[in-house]
């Protein structure tokens, strides 16, 4: 009788857990930009990404998304100055209806690089952001010197979604 009860509890737990699946989603190129004139010190670059869960996996709705982790963040410079003009960069993700989450950082930025990979947060969970229609990317870049022109980088972000039936 005792074993039967334990078996029943296990069966309930097993069925209530449902099926989980991990899906890797790579964003299209996101433009992060700040309009000049810009000043020495921390400057804010912004970009956005529309979220369509159905495109990530057909039939997925917000209720199916259990967690979202960042796997990688790669930035590419769009001009000849490359990343020489910034000394470090921190990336946050946010939206109007969800909290801002610090997502990745690179400090220092290597001089002469035309593309850089940020170190992603292992703990940041972007699940609430993926339940919105649009996600904002806010990058704080430390400029080495004043600059009259704009700054623009292309970002490609790889996410790992845990989906539940």
């Amino acid at each position: 009788m005792k074993y039967l009860s334990i078996l029943s509890i296990c069966a309930i737990l097993f069925t209530s857990c449902g099926h989980e699946e991990k899906v890797v989603f790579t964003s299209e190129e996101i433009t992060l930009s700040a309009e000049g004139p810009l000043f020495e010190g921390s400057n804010t670059l912004q970009g956005s990404m529309l979220i369509d869960l159905n495109k990530i996996k057909a039939g997925t709705t917000a209720e199916n998304v259990e967690s979202v982790k960042i796997k990688s963040v790669k930035l590419t410079s769009t001009d000849s100055l490359m990343f020489n003009e910034i000394s470090n960069i921190t990336l946050q993700c946010t939206s109007n209806d969800a909290s801002m989450i610090q997502s990745a950082v690179l400090n220092p930025v290597p001089e002469g690089a035309s593309s850089i990979s940020l170190i992603p947060s292992a703990e940041a969970d972007l699940v609430e952001l993926f339940k919105q229609k649009e996600m904002l990317f806010v990058a704080d870049a430390e400029l080495r010197a004043d600059k009259d022109g704009n700054i623009s980088y292309k970002a490609v972000v790889e996410f790992e979604l845990t989906l539940k039936d």
Partner: protein, 152 residues
């Protein structure tokens, strides 16, 4: 009946005026502010519909132990402990609630790596009361921040 209708339409016409006055008050938070300890300056900006504040100046920018620019060494997550403190977003997700009050945001204390709920109240155009708390607002601590460029 006629009087009531006139009053109704007059009020309806005034609504956009009230709304824009509210918006103008909301944006008064934007600027550079100095906490009472004077060790940092925080720039508040609006992103989307919410307000965020980041450190733009440090009295002691370098860590005396390493001689290098200070980083967020107390961050609970190891991968983010190399985040520079200059540029760090201390204030996050503040929403204007009217009556010169911004709430539903958080404040981060780099001295101990803790994040607190926070409400901001503007006492006058150049003075903020920043109240950080855990759980209920009554159990918190208030700091007074001054605007760096005094508005006349």
């Amino acid at each position: 009946m006629m009087k009531r209708m006139i009053l109704f339409f007059a009020m309806a016409l005034m609504l956009p005026v009230f709304a824009s006055a509210q918006d103008a008050n909301a944006d008064k938070l934007v600027g550079v502010w100095e906490p009472s300890h004077g060790k940092a300056r925080v720039k508040v900006e609006k992103i989307g519909t919410k307000f965020y504040g980041k450190i733009v100046w440090l009295k002691e920018p370098n860590d005396p132990e390493t001689g290098k620019p200070k980083v967020d060494k107390n961050n609970p997550e190891e991968a983010l402990r190399n985040t520079p403190l200059k540029g760090y977003r201390l204030l996050k997700d503040f929403i204007y609630k009217g009556n010169k009050e911004w709430s539903e945001g958080t404040i981060y204390d780099p001295e101990n790596g803790s994040t607190y709920k926070c409400v901001i109240r503007m006492k006058d155009d150049n003075t903020l009361e920043i109240r950080g708390y855990i759980g209920v607002e009554a159990l918190g601590r208030t700091d007074v921040w001054k605007r760096l460029e005094i508005k006349k």
